[in-house]
């Protein structure tokens, strides 16, 4: 049985069916991401001073990924326009560009950004022991300069025994009273070779930068993980529409393929739209 109104419009709605379908789906997606974003806001306003980390993500890489998603949004709409103008060859290339962009985005996220976080270490110091680590935290300096309190020592875990952690310090902890460390840098500074010894009994909690690290990383991994799954889903659909099987649809009725590209494009633009909010909320603010 043929599915009705895949190409022509239904007289009562004035739309072909898939278009209503995708918009209903996107409406539910707005609620899904809306719930997660409101959780983010709630966790953030609830976090005590110094407990919401800043500058832990790689801004140039995030900016590049943002640009890649925007470019892929342009190429998918150009792919659709090419089909509308019956230029299959151009469509094929624009689709390939879109798929490539999606795959680059995912690779950067999964092979570079996330694993880098998994290797980074942070130890929150117990309030009563903060003074002991003043040389790494510079809380007196922070207070004098109106900066939030510093409760955590971060860097690469060099080694540990039953009593201590040895941490190769991040630049902020290596030189906490240097004014250039007051705010995050655009290009992340590498971990220094200055090693600090932190006694385990002074540590409130210590983890790699995993979801268990903080409300910040919990929401970061949840939202970027769900977003990444959406990118993966979009890429799989695009690959299907780029393969020769879809050329048969085009040859039978080009508008049918154009409409398929339009609805999957709508999904893709939505994924881009979500990222437009994710990027500043996690990378910049």
């Amino acid at each position: 049985m043929e599915i009705p109104y895949t190409v022509s419009t239904r007289p009562d709605t004035g739309l072909w069916n898939a278009k209503i379908g995708i918009w209903l789906f996107l409406a539910s997606e707005v609620m899904l991401f809306g719930g997660l974003f409101s959780a983010y806001i709630f966790l953030r306003i609830d976090s005590p001073p110094g407990m919401w980390p800043h500058g832990l993500l790689n801004v140039p890489v995030g900016t590049m990924n943002t640009a890649i998603l925007i470019i892929s949004s342009v190429t998918v709409v150009l792919a659709w326009a090419a089909l509308k103008m019956r230029r299959y060859r151009a469509y094929w290339w624009y689709m390939l560009a879109t798929i490539t962009c999606g795959l680059i985005f995912l690779t950067v996220k999964l092979a570079y950004e996330w694993p880098q976080k998994f290797e980074h270490f942070g130890a929150y110091i117990k309030p009563e022991a903060l003074g002991k680590y003043e040389q790494y935290l510079g809380n007196q300096y922070a207070e004098e300069h109106g900066l939030p309190p510093r409760l955590e020592i971060t860097g690469h875990l060099h080694g540990q025994n039953a009593k201590e952690y040895e941490v190769a310090l991040d630049p902020l902890n290596a030189d906490p009273t240097n004014p250039s460390m007051d705010r995050p840098h655009f290009f992340p500074l590498p971990v220094t070779d200055k090693i600090a010894t932190i006694e385990k009994e002074d540590v409130q909690r210590a983890t790699m930068f995993l979801p268990t690290h903080s409300a910040y990383f919990a929401s970061y991994f949840t939202i970027t993980g769900l977003h990444g799954l959406h990118v993966l889903g979009g890429v799989l659909v695009f690959i299907y529409m780029w393969l020769p099987v879809s050329k048969k649809v085009y040859q039978r009725n080009p508008e049918h393929l154009a409409n398929r590209v339009e609805v999957s494009g709508l999904f893709w633009h939505f994924v881009d739209l979500v990222w437009i909010f994710v990027f500043p909320l996690f990378y910049l603010l």
Partner: protein, 114 residues
């Protein structure tokens, strides 16, 4: 139910349509360039301190909303869509705002915030 005859096969009507699409392509490219420029602006603004963190957040969210609006209006064709889709989206907008209102309710209800 069978498909009604496909109007897009009418060659004259189709040519007119294809011509219209061609005109849109330039618009898509311009919006893409604009989005890239605004991404750079968002990043640059985050390194300017506007007095309070709240001000920085408000400004970044304003720019993000403008970008999202451009994506929705142009790429997602919401600038000119059928009425039924707007009806669906009005409900979505209402419910998502309600979702964010819940934060306010929780905020004023929860003793540790006072």
């Amino acid at each position: 139910m069978n498909n009604p005859p496909d109007i897009s096969q009418d060659s004259k009507e189709y040519e007119e349509y294809a011509h219209g699409v061609q005109k849109h392509v330039r618009g898509y490219l311009m919006v893409g360039a604009l989005l890239l420029a605004f991404t750079a602006i968002t990043v640059a603004l985050s390194y300017v301190h506007f007095g309070t963190d709240k001000a920085n957040i408000a400004i970044a969210m304003l720019v993000a909303t403008l970008k999202a609006g451009a994506v929705a209006a142009v790429f997602m064709h919401l600038a000119a869509e059928k009425r039924l889709i707007y009806r669906v989206l009005i409900f979505t907008g209402f419910f998502v705002l309600a979702l964010f209102w819940l934060i306010l309710f929780a905020w004023y209800d929860y003793p540790i915030f006072h």
